[in-house]
Assembly symmetry: C2
Homo-oligomer: 427 residues x 2
């Protein structure tokens, strides 16, 4: 095994508390397509990793990476065709209002750029996020992470309860009234920022509220909140780090949730493992940011990011992965939904393409979250060769977010194992 000794070395080399998945962590040594292999040669179906979106060890991406690194990889203060073309492709995939791109090395850095941009454009400091969001780990971006419903009223961050139909803000409301209830909370947050003298710069959300557990959003909410934000002089930042790049069966989560953000933040899947981040907006906003901040990022906007980033886009298109995400995701969601009758612990099944969530509860009436079952189920599925994780405000949502090359056959394998685990755990 030797995992014990590796874990011991890891505790010193990386410090205790460097996160590991599973009660018994696994040592992964190889990946291919949708599969990961551990140090004993055991195969797992990867149902968690969104970064290797076009498949682990995708050979087209490997080739692009190796060829570019063997040709040129240098910072962006010389002219280079590649990064310009890559930016053009990204803006071309977005709505008309998205014209220019600032590249960086991570989603955190891209969110930093977005927030700094919104503050420069509006001249205000105040930010609004949800009560259970995660947007990254820098000091500024971390101030938006898991803030709950009462971030410090003296700071420049306010939160609102994320929009959902499963545990709605108020019971007994129709969709339209429920929308209004959430909108009122956003309006209150804006008002609070004004009252504190901070002013309102931006609302920042993941278009599918991934960390919140991929809720069913009351229909029309995102378009309505965008209108509200614009009326109040703020910008809407779509953090597409999880929801973008075909995850929902559309290129962008904002297409799935039907609104047009002012700033689009991209990250994780862009490089299939190569660190890339990007912040896109209309040219006027990007120009204002660049003028004010003189932004430069040494290892970003490079020929390597461009070559790898375009190979990933090529593969998404060549392998028709938006359609795959739509079709496999829809069928898997349906199959899981069909199990709600049989397994009382499944409180809800939600899906956006290949981002599915299974809400696990103790009791159908109270909807009391079953965090323990969620963890145990994750461990049991791992023992059966399927890697998932959890999400949500109560950490009771099984998070299914495989590489986009996940197939119908993979879904069938998984459903078999899922049934077995649920049977076991019911006992």
């Amino acid at each position: 095994m030797g995992n014990g000794s590796l874990q011991h070395r890891r505790n010193l080399a990386l410090g205790s508390g460097a996160e590991l998945f599973y009660a018994m962590p696994i040592e992964i040594v190889r990946g291919e397509g949708v599969y990961l292999y551990d140090s004993n040669g055991r195969r797992y179906v990867d149902m968690y990793n969104n970064v290797p979106c076009v498949g682990h060890a995708n050979p087209v991406v490997v080739k692009a990476m190796a060829e570019q690194q063997a040709t040129l990889n240098v910072h962006s203060r010389y002219l280079h065709e590649g990064i310009v073309t890559f930016a053009e492709r990204l803006t071309g995939l977005n709505h008309d209002g998205i014209e220019s791109v600032v590249f960086s090395c991570s989603g955190t850095e891209a969110n930093e750029v977005a927030i700094q941009m919104a503050r420069i454009v509006t001249g205000n400091g105040g930010l609004i996020c949800t009560d259970a969001a995660y947007h990254g780990n820098s000091e500024l971006v971390d101030s938006l992470s898991y803030v709950g419903l009462s971030p410090s009223e003296s700071g420049d961050v306010r939160s609102f309860p994320f929009p959902e139909r499963y545990r709605p803000l108020q019971d007994g409301l129709g969709d339209e009234e429920l929308c209004e209830a959430y909108l009122t909370r956003v309006a209150m947050a804006i008002e609070s920022l004004r009252a504190a003298g901070t002013g309102f710069a931006a609302l920042i959300v993941c278009p599918i509220f991934a960390n919140e557990g991929v809720p069913d959003i009351p229909p029309g909410f995102m378009a309505k909140v965008t209108d509200l934000v614009h009326r109040e002089g703020g910008l809407v930042i779509a953090d597409e780090v999880q929801s973008g790049y075909g995850r929902t069966g559309r290129w962008w989560g904002y297409e799935f949730s039907q609104f047009r953000p002012d700033v689009v933040v991209m990250g994780k899947p862009m490089g299939n493992g190569l660190p890339i981040g990007a912040t896109a907006a209309k040219k006027e906003f990007v120009d204002a940011f660049r003028t004010e901040r003189d932004y430069f990022n040494t290892c970003a906007s490079t020929p390597l990011q461009a070559a790898v980033g375009m190979a990933v886009l090529d593969e998404i298109e060549r392998l028709d992965l938006l359609r795959n995400a739509t079709e496999v995701g829809a069928r898997l969601a349906n199959e899981l939904r069909g199990r709600m009758e049989k397994f009382d612990a499944i409180g809800d099944v939600r899906g956006c393409g290949l981002f599915l969530s299974v809400e696990l509860i103790r009791d159908g009436d109270s909807k009391e979250p079953d965090t323990e079952l969620t963890l145990t189920l994750g461990d049991r599925l791992k023992e059966r060769g399927f890697l998932v994780s959890y999400a949500g405000k109560y950490e009771n949502v099984l998070k299914i977010r495989p590489p986009l090359v996940f197939s119908h056959a993979n879904a069938d394998e998984f459903l078999g194992a899922f049934d077995e685990c649920m049977e076991e755990l019911r006992e």
Copy 2:
């Protein structure tokens, strides 16, 4: 040419104000070793880029990158031998007090981690930097960039004048007295943070003060300021993003400047172009940070960062680049120093291995900085096929910081071109 049209597309795709070098920017399409080639096939000696430290397109690095990406590249919540071994190699290259590593994707992210760590460890918020430093581009780290001598007294940042002998804080002092003069300014900054109620968390500096223009530091200053900081309960953060990885002929700038920092920040050259950042400290500090922040960085701490990072270390060792930096750097600095008599505009020549600076002035008595000459000289050298840039508080310091594979022959070529340009510009 076609550069005009590429530049036009770039203005839209990346926004106006995305920085470019030189009055007439160049389109670089290929690199090899110490050379870069433009779209017309013209060869340049790269004397600026520290990121490709083991040479542009280094084949050992390319091979390691391609092989690892074709095998496995996944986040760090599974066990993996590579990243543990890489962390062990990095701590092994540092002094005894550096035991554990937090990986990230850029120098900015690594400085974020260092500052957050220092604040957690000390329980205080206040930071001290120099008046002409640059540490990165996030909101927090940007608050330390080029702050001058009077950052807002109400914030949590104070600055002190960077230590130097060329334009000393006070004239007519011996080295020891000059040290004391700078130490007094640091002590005042600490006092000011205390008075504001912020308390003192850390002093953060580049060990060779690269952005400040690589000054001659009064001997003993860094050891003395480290003692002062420790007496006052703060940590010393060495931002080795520019000074580390053999740049000075030692592995770390702090060895060159003779002190032992509490936190070491690494970046740029670590991946020869692959984004990698790292923050290292004693285990106790890293543990405290991980416990408090639950830090996770998706594309960092990966098998790809490990494989590429170790290939870079291997190449530095195999090619004996620390010795090369020492020897070529010393000879080039001497040659340039020998030209001070002939060219009045050269006010000072300073060097730390292969990081050299040539201070350009209008007049030897006033030492008035000649920013214009510095820019023009950079452009003229470019026309002759040598790529340099500038640095320093007054942007009048020619910055020579080539890949570490820069040879004696390259230095000779450069000196010929330098003489010609200086002759031309004297007329």
